[in-house]
């Protein structure tokens, strides 16, 4: 009997704990009305990334605005770490990183740590620290070392930032909030942003408390020739291979006929 009571108590405590941990629920907040210049981005032959403008109305005038761009799906990436083997540099270990977003961009009208506490940032996954906290890595090959966690995170961040997939801009000029109400900004989708659904989430904070939330979905998809080539190469690999060979043969023979002498190999 005593045991049951204790068990019940523990359960109740657990529930309270759970409830308090989910204190910040974005969907329960006032809606931030937003509008994107377009919701579908098409990857055609000349695709080299795209820029999408966003407009939004701040439900609580004067509050701070934080906008986050992520991919809907999380990705699992394999990272190779190079090390010295004799005189050579080669891959000595590999980590699989899960739970890290494919793309991660944040715009704020002032430094993030002045807007929200660390706990809130972690809960809403805002800021690099939060990304790192959520990211999981496990060794697939080689021997692990204590400093690996740091090296892998920094390496991933560098790769992502260079590809313009990760960045954080804390600048009122970049995220204009006119008279504390109307905000506008743009996200640059780099060429590396491939097919998929992307989320743009707008958060409004007043004195560190979430007071408004809005969400836009942007879809990127390959179209026309790009789409056909990608699909065919994956789904009808044999046909794709034969086609590639035949086109090359045809082109080569055509050139041979045109130039008579033909290009040397």
């Amino acid at each position: 009997m005593k045991r049951t009571v204790i068990l019940l108590l523990v359960c109740c405590l657990g529930c309270f704990w759970g409830a308090s941990a989910l204190a910040v629920t974005p969907e329960a907040q006032q809606k931030v009305v937003t509008s994107a210049s377009k919701n579908v981005v098409e990857i055609g032959l000349s695709y080299s990334g795209d820029r999408i403008f966003f407009f939004g109305v701040n439900p609580v005038p004067g509050s701070d605005v934080v906008i986050k761009l992520t991919a809907e799906k999380e990705e699992a990436v394999k990272l190779s770490m190079k090390g010295r083997v004799g005189p050579f540099w080669m891959t000595v270990k590999q980590y699989e990183v899960t739970g890290s977003p494919f793309i991660y961009k944040i715009h704020t009208n002032k430094p993030l740590d002045q807007i929200i506490s660390k706990e809130t940032a972690q809960e809403l996954e805002l800021g690099y620290d939060a990304v790192r906290y959520k990211m999981k890595m496990h060794l697939i090959r080689g021997e692990s070392a204590p400093e690996d966690a740091d090296v892998v995170w920094k390496g991933l961040l560098k790769i992502k930032e260079r590809a313009n997939l990760y960045n954080i801009v804390e600048d009122p000029k970049r995220l204009e909030v006119a008279e504390g109400k109307l905000f506008k900004h743009y996200f640059r989708f780099p060429a590396a942003a491939t097919e998929g659904r992307y989320l743009v989430e707008s958060y409004c904070f007043q004195n560190g408390q979430l007071v408004g939330y809005g969400k836009d979905v942007i879809q990127i998809k390959k179209v026309g020739l790009e789409n056909w080539l990608t699909q065919t190469s994956k789904n009808q690999a044999l046909f794709y291979g034969i086609m590639a060979v035949l086109i090359a043969l045809g082109a080569g023979l055509l050139v041979g006929v045109i130039f008579r002498k033909g290009g040397h190999h």
Binding site: G155, K158, A251, K261, G262, H264, H265
Partner: protein
């Protein structure tokens, strides 16, 4: 003008690829040797994933070699029997090579192995060519009597050994009588390399046919081109089927550039002396070797890099 390559998954300047294709085409037109061994490293330098670079170059080589093979076939320089036996070896080797690439990619060391093989091959070929052409130039400066003495024609010793093996055949065009195992094993070795490096293997095959098998130079070139068409077609097919790494768009742009470049190269080639051309090629090959070698031994700027074959997500 940016163009999006569907398989490489990146956006790149159209004229940059066309230009690189043109440059390699120009060089291969000028030197009369393969462009593949220059093309793959150049593609990697501009950021094309190594596996996609190698596979797409194979595809491009199908086209480049077929136009050359066509011309040689009309001139009667193709030994089909020899070519087909080498080809059988090449297909065997190419199939092994593609599986090898698959394993290496999964292990994350594809790039390393590829670069090591490149450094070895290019260093060897470049070095030998450099020494040979330098000698020729020195000799032409000296007396002609000395030149005659300094050019010993060595009998291919290995071919004598193979004559004793079973499966002896007569090769009419090449004027040879040797065992079929011989060209088959050479084809196998080159086939493995073709898959690993994305090259037709001409720069190894032609010297091997002339110096090891003992074929006449012009027949070696014609036969080589003929078998390269089929070998690289096989590699392209396997890469497309097993690794999904053939970027047809990339291959077509390269092809456009290289065919135009090859024509200019052939014209320029007529204005230069043979040894001048060879020493120039040797310098280019050696420069490439040094660059790749430094990549292997210098501390890399990025210790962490994305490995191929990511699971799930994007």
């Amino acid at each position: 003008m940016e163009i999006y390559l569907p398989i490489a998954g990146m956006s790149i300047n159209f004229f940059l690829i066309l230009g690189i294709g043109g440059l390699v085409g120009f060089l291969s037109g000028l030197f009369g040797v393969g462009g593949g061994f220059l093309l793959t490293p150049l593609m990697m330098m501009i950021g094309i994933p190594p596996a996609v670079a190698a596979a797409s170059d194979s595809n491009q080589i199908v086209a480049a070699a077929s136009s050359g093979a066509f011309a040689h076939w009309r001139l009667g320089n193709v030994d089909f029997k020899m070519g087909l036996i080498i080809l059988a070896g090449g297909i065997f080797g190419g199939t092994i090579g593609v599986q090898f690439v698959k394993v290496l990619r999964a292990m994350g060391n594809f790039e390393f192995v590829m670069k090591v093989v490149y450094v070895l091959m290019l260093g060897l070929v470049g070095g030998a060519m450099f020494v040979e052409s330098l000698r020729t130039i020195r000799r032409s400066m000296g007396s002609s009597a000395e030149a005659a003495a300094a050019a010993p024609v060595s009998e291919p010793k290995l071919s004598k050994l193979f004559v004793k093996l079973p499966l002896r055949m007569h090769f009419h065009r090449s004027g040879l009588h040797t065992s079929a195992i011989f060209p088959f094993s050479i084809g196998t070795a080159v086939g493995i390399m073709a898959a690993l490096l994305g090259v037709g293997g001409g720069f190894i095959m032609v010297p091997a046919m002339i110096y090891i098998i003992g074929m006449p130079t012009i027949v070696a070139i014609g036969t080589d081109l003929f078998q390269i068409v089929l070998t690289s077609a096989n590699v392209t097919l396997q890469q497309a089927f097993v690794n999904h790494t053939v970027d047809l768009l990339l291959a077509l742009i390269l092809l456009g550039g290289s065919t135009i470049g090859a024509q200019f190269g052939a014209v320029a080639g007529k204005r230069l002396k043979g040894e001048q051309i060879r020493i120039l090629l040797a310098v280019i090959v050696l420069a490439m070797t040094v660059k790749l070698f430094l990549d292997l031994v210098l501390t890399p700027t990025d210790l962490v890099s994305l490995a191929a074959g990511k699971g799930g997500g994007h």
